[in-house]
Subunit: 306 residues, 2 copies
């Protein structure tokens, strides 16, 4: 699979529908070295998920029944937003733990948002049943080629903006973003995959030699709490040698505070997880190693204007 | 006065001490046209004020008694931060209305922060008395050449980053930032000076033919509530033909909400005032006119991590 061309094609396809998000070289971020940052939480609907959603919808024949997705919140908001912009109906299934802020974000787009008891896996079952019943097109949150290719445009864009770092730290849930990043980079830079200790589907898969089910909980669970890592992500992680690192919920909360105190960026836990690997020392770069952190989402609960 | 060279010299002087803040062309910000943005609230201490503070301290012989400043909060935090970085003592006088978040920000630097009953003018009196008594160096918040030149580096930096707009909207309190912007641009782009209706020292000065005292109140008063516009700013506004526009407190609150909903930027009222001129229609650009908005500060009350 030629991810580089697939992602380049996705970037062309979604241009004009998504924002080019700003980058910054923060020489002085209260750490022992400069950090390159990309503020992807400034994307439409507050996360990178909009890229995969537009890429999927724009590369498919969407049926009259519209689209359907299961989501902890951010993917659902992105699919709902893209569907509305492109004139399709959208039905989004979310677990209760998505929380009122993310549910409001989805409903604000005009999508039909249905709340499912339990965790993400239950919402996915409901979405699959809806697909079978109505013929709506399923937009998978992370384990589909068009989703991965869309998310990979974060990295192609960042390189076009002059990314200097040797190492890129990225938060992982189901692994759509990470897979896109690994697909684009193809091992040319080190990728550090950061997961909460309490939601670590990639880490478990690497230990077990293949995707396995994990229990998910913790402060980032509605965004990073995939029960099982995507097969595309797992395959690319093995192939490109991504480094898996775990962080505690306390480290994530500390990184959220750090981003506010240093840069006045208010993000959700998942959006600060990658930085948490640096601020907590879970990942210690070598002397001279230049690091980049992707800030990937900012739909915190409660919403400050909710 | 050759502001262009003075500001260029300031930029060289403060390089490495201040951050190059990110810019973004937001094609789709929920308005009828693209908007160029600069996120100067990502500067150290959360506002542009750090530029003027470093420029002043680095171009002066700071006495052993250190520096003193009066401030509604942001200037004080910036002076305190620059003083600590450069190894000087700092005493900062703030009016009560600075609020606990900004007072904590100043105290976190280790500065001696003294709270003065009343408004900014009372804090300024106390700072002048402290200067006379101790020999500490006064760092004026807006009406001093070194302060204005430091703030002007926001615009020289933005042009170096490829600013395209015909028109730049900037919030005005005492006018240090606006003066720096006008000094750098010298009329080459239209400058729209945005003030709250309830704190409009520049507007009043332009109407009266010179600086006059005004009453100050409203949600942005601790940052934009100067009782009298700086003479440097007033002179440059007349000379370069800046356009003065007023916005209501409701418009400012609406722009704060807009910045969050669209870009996940949580800013203080003053930081959203310039955008409020667009979102409220107080300034209506001509067809084809390209506009830029400076987001200048984000020390909101309450502090989300306070």
């Amino acid at each position: 699979m030629d991810w580089k061309s697939t992602i380049a094609a996705a970037a062309t396809r979604i241009a004009g529908h998504v924002r080019v998000t700003p980058v910054m070289m923060a020489a002085d971020l209260g750490l022992d070295r400069p950090v390159d940052l990309k503020f992807e939480q400034m994307q439409h609907t507050g996360s990178f998920k909009t890229r995969g959603a537009f890429n999927t919808l724009l590369s498919s024949d969407v049926p009259a029944a519209g689209v359907v997705a299961a989501s902890g919140g951010n993917h659902g908001a992105a699919v709902a937003f893209a569907a509305r912009r492109l004139g399709h109906a959208a039905t989004i299934f979310v677990p209760e733990m998505a929380g009122p802020a993310k549910i409001a974000l989805i409903r604000d787009t005009g999508a039909d948002c249905r709340i499912v008891p339990g965790a993400y896996a239950n919402a996915l079952d409901a979405a699959l049943a809806h697909e079978a019943e109505t013929g709506a097109m399923q937009v998978h949150a992370y384990d589909a080629e068009s989703t991965v290719a869309g998310q990979g445009t974060v990295l192609s864009e960042w390189e076009a903006q002059g990314l200097q770092a040797n190492t890129v730290l990225i938060a992982v849930g189901g692994g759509g973003l990470l897979a896109g990043a690994m697909g684009w980079l193809g091992g040319a830079r080190r990728v550090v995959a950061v997961e909460p200790e309490t939601s670590c589907a990639l880490h478990a898969a690497l230990a077990a030699g293949g995707p396995v089910d994990v229990e998910v909980s913790g402060i980032a669970a509605n965004a990073l709490g995939a029960k099982r890592i995507g097969t595309i992500c797992h395959g690319l992680a093995v192939e490109t040698g991504a480094l898996s690192v775990l962080v505690t919920d306390d480290a994530i909360a500390g990184a959220q505070r750090h981003l506010w105190r240093q840069l006045r960026q208010l993000v959700e836990p998942a959006g600060a997880a990658a930085l948490a690997a640096l601020t907590s020392g879970a990942y210690v770069p070598a002397p001279g190693e230049r690091v980049a952190v992707l800030v990937c989402g900012a739909n915190p609960a409660p919403d400050p204007f909710g």
